[in-house]
Amino acid sequence: MSAAPLRGWGVELQRLEHVPPPTPEEQQALERVWGHLGPEERVGRRDLLLPALWAVQEARGWISYPAAAAICRELGLPPAEVYGVASFYALLATEPRPRRMIHLCDDIVCMLRGAEALAQTLHRLLGDPIQEPAHGQAYGGISRADGAASGEGPLPSVGWSRSPCLGQCERGVAALVGERVLLGLSPEALEERVRAWLRGGEGLADATPAPTHLGWKGEGTPLLLARCGRIVPTSLEDYRALGGYEGLKRAMTIGPEATIQEVERSGLIGRGGAAFPTGRKWALAAREPPPRYVVCNADESEPGTFKDRVLLEKDPFSVIEGLTIAGYAVGAERGYLYIRGEYPEGYRVLLQALEFARAAGYLGKRILGTDFSFDIEVRRGAGAYVCGEETALFNSIEGFRADPRNRPPFPTQVGLFRRPTAINNVETLACVPPILARGGDWYARLGTERSKGTKLVCVSGHVARPGLYEVPFGVPIRTVVEDLAGGVPGGRRVQAVLCGGAAGTFLLPEELDTPLAVETLQALGAALGSGALVVFDERTDLWTVVERIARFFRDESCGQCVPCRVGTQRQLEVVAELRRGGGRVDPEVRRLLEELAQVMRDASICGLGQLAPNAVLSSLRLLGKRP
């Protein structure tokens, strides 16, 4: 029989009613989550589970059994369920872990910028990485419980783990450390910092990171970037001075139905990847019985993608206003904004902006003197790419494991808390205020026949000016990569461009003249996805990139359905073997990968599994041909 994982730290696991109380710090952290809720009001508030887990995680650096037991008692939840949720997320630890954890991004873009050298530095200074959920070796209740990892003695003060993309691609190498994100890291700078931490100091002040390049080109731009960098992000005055809240006012003048019609007329399609018409989504939700919800999906986690982070950090009111208009149009009284846990700065900015919006009467009871009451609650993810899948996101907010749900029913009928819900991406919602302020017809003139408006494009990798660029749909990809982002530096050539992040497709150099639009990319067998372009120059070992992408999906699969849970592992194994073998792909192996890909696309529950073979398969077009 295995020893339970927490033994060795003076905590004996036992039945709930006999578990000792949590530490005062943990208790205080929990009290802040409960807020004004009395003990009997907490029971059944399962949606407070993730905030409560976050609170005790931050109070101690990991979720102790007494703290988890306190959460069980307060919320009336069984330990198995609480553990099931806690053990799902990479940023939550269910075993003792150093209080200061360095989550080093080693994903595709930071990898190009030398993340591996930093990983080696950390390995030399701190030993093996401590990986949470999906990474394996060191993982979880079982493997560690059997092994020596649950040792006696004090915990080290600093630890590290490898992290999937932190959404800082234009200014990596990045590392998430507590509530800070370190940027532009070099091995030397990191070593100095870690040594200071090991000595018990706070280390150096954060160097000012290189600014994010913002740029635009073409008709209608800058629209979404118009305020970014020009205003104090949390200044409502600045926001209003540059057209802010004109959209909401117009919406309230014309009424909910006309608001939806305006958005339908604009031709706006979702910017999260699925490209569903936003107005139609709202109309579908609005015709269902109340209560209804609106949700902003800010769980941006697609490798290579950072547009939502920039919007939230630099122009938060545009998203808040967009969500408010959505709430008004759909007839919701409450909106949720779910932001990934790896965006502490965006989270801080948002909370502050929401407070100002409330104080000024843009949120709360009877907004702007009308009978429309609406407020927004922010929820923080805890390290799980799959939460960007809308139904997984609902489950995460509700305090369940973030397993995606089978569809139908669709969120517009059965969404958050099983109620009709309109869920939109950050960028989509940021498009809404100008559409209302200037009219759907005006917006519909921008872009192409089927892709209306402007698009934010995250360009990273081997370009002179990695950054966030705005163009009207229809502009050639080459214009974005070369004119705006400066092309590949040093006179080298493009080998491939990954379009749409890890779930996307590798484009060949000759395909860069393709207009950036949903329909043109679709015709190529690619997809716009999240709007990320990662550029790889001719010297890049693409097999390493493809293997990292395969590992990403293996690590991020929720594990619910077989094609994805096991398929992502099998795909990784084959890709790793191909890389080791020098990249020769024999027809038999190609067939194996293609069969697996078809099954993952056909039979996985959600987009994660369905899109996981994309990059791998498309890389075979480039790599498979080589001698």
Partner: protein, 303 residues
């Protein structure tokens, strides 16, 4: 029956054959009404479908992806194909993936489908690496049943049976993520320290012997478990007034396991700890117990 007749019917087409089923029926129900069938693993007739294993996928005209028959509702005019090459490929792959990731040697359904669809898990072997799924020894932490997680295909049947659908104990749930996901009582607690009431209903619905009565587990180890030589004797549980129907599995004139027939409207296959495990007294004072030297099965002290 009269209430059933009032449910509006919808018409769909299964492999070219028209079929009428009550509104809100699942595709699986429609397929079976048409006299066809599809393989299932996570599906269990008395539990709510969850569509997790994906072996029941079928083609639905107009759908971009395949569709899980167990959970998808029939819509009027739906055209369903249950056995196309595309469907067969997915089923074969699901079996291959399961066989390559866990021990399915005691999972009769998986083995049957493997043969039926021509699964060749060995073609993945040249690439196999150590995944995040650690190998575990069977967990023997109580006298009534054993958890052998290396056999678990994560069908969630046990979790559903333990939770609100049957037992309302909520003693187990899925923990971890991805390949490292596994069934756990929370913090890897031993079962006697968990909320488990040892009803064994999780064991009853497990299709792979990942959850198995301890007697059966030990007899398998000793090489004495022989289903072919077992008789099933139906009787009524002697403990309380409910009168649950029991199936006594008898080998060499000794009870080796107790189950409940699924079709019994009182139990629907589910029992309490006494009915399922409280039978050793029958052999009290007789020769050695069937486990070949194991201690008699008694409920843990906290009951």
């Amino acid at each position: 029956m009269t209430r059933k007749l009032q449910v509006p019917l919808v018409t769909a087409e299964v492999d070219g054959q028209r079929v009428q089923v009550p509104e809100a029926s699942t595709l699986l129900e429609a397929i079976r009404a048409a006299g066809k069938d599809v393989p299932t693993l996570c599906y269990h007739p008395v539990l709510e479908p969850i569509g997790a294993c994906r072996i029941c996928v079928v083609e639905v005209e107009g759908s971009r992806t395949l569709v899980p028959a167990c959970i998808r509702r029939v819509e009027a005019g739906m055209r369903v194909r249950t056995d196309t090459p595309r469907v067969q490929l997915s089923r074969r792959m699901v079996v291959e993936l399961l066989q390559g990731s866990v021990d399915t040697s005691l999972a009769p359904d998986v083995r049957r489908y493997a043969a039926e669809y021509g699964a060749r898990p060995e073609r993945w072997e040249p690439f196999a690496q150590e995944g995040p799924r650690a190998k575990h020894a069977p967990k023997v932490d109580n006298d009534l049943y054993v958890r052998d997680l290396d056999r678990c295909i994560l069908c969630y049947r046990c979790v559903r049976a333990c939770g609100e659908e049957v037992q309302n104990s909520f003693a187990i749930a899925v923990a971890g993520r991805g390949l490292a996901a596994r069934i756990d009582p929370g913090f890897d607690l031993p079962l006697p320290d968990s909320a488990c009431v040892f009803c064994g209903n999780c064991v009853a619905v497990c299709p792979t012997e990942a959850l198995v009565p301890k007697t059966q587990f030990e007899m398998r180890r000793a090489g004495t478990w022989e289903e072919g030589r077992q008789q099933v004797v139906t009787t009524i549980c002697p403990y309380c007034g409910v009168g649950c129907k029991l199936n006594l599995h008898v080998q060499d004139n000794r009870i080796v396991k107790v189950t409940a027939p699924l079709e019994d409207p009182i139990t629907r296959g589910f029992l309490c700890v006494k009915g399922r495990f409280g039978w050793t007294y029958v052999h009290a004072g007789t020769a050695a117990d069937p486990g070949g030297g194991a201690e008699p099965s008694t409920p843990p002290g906290n009951l």
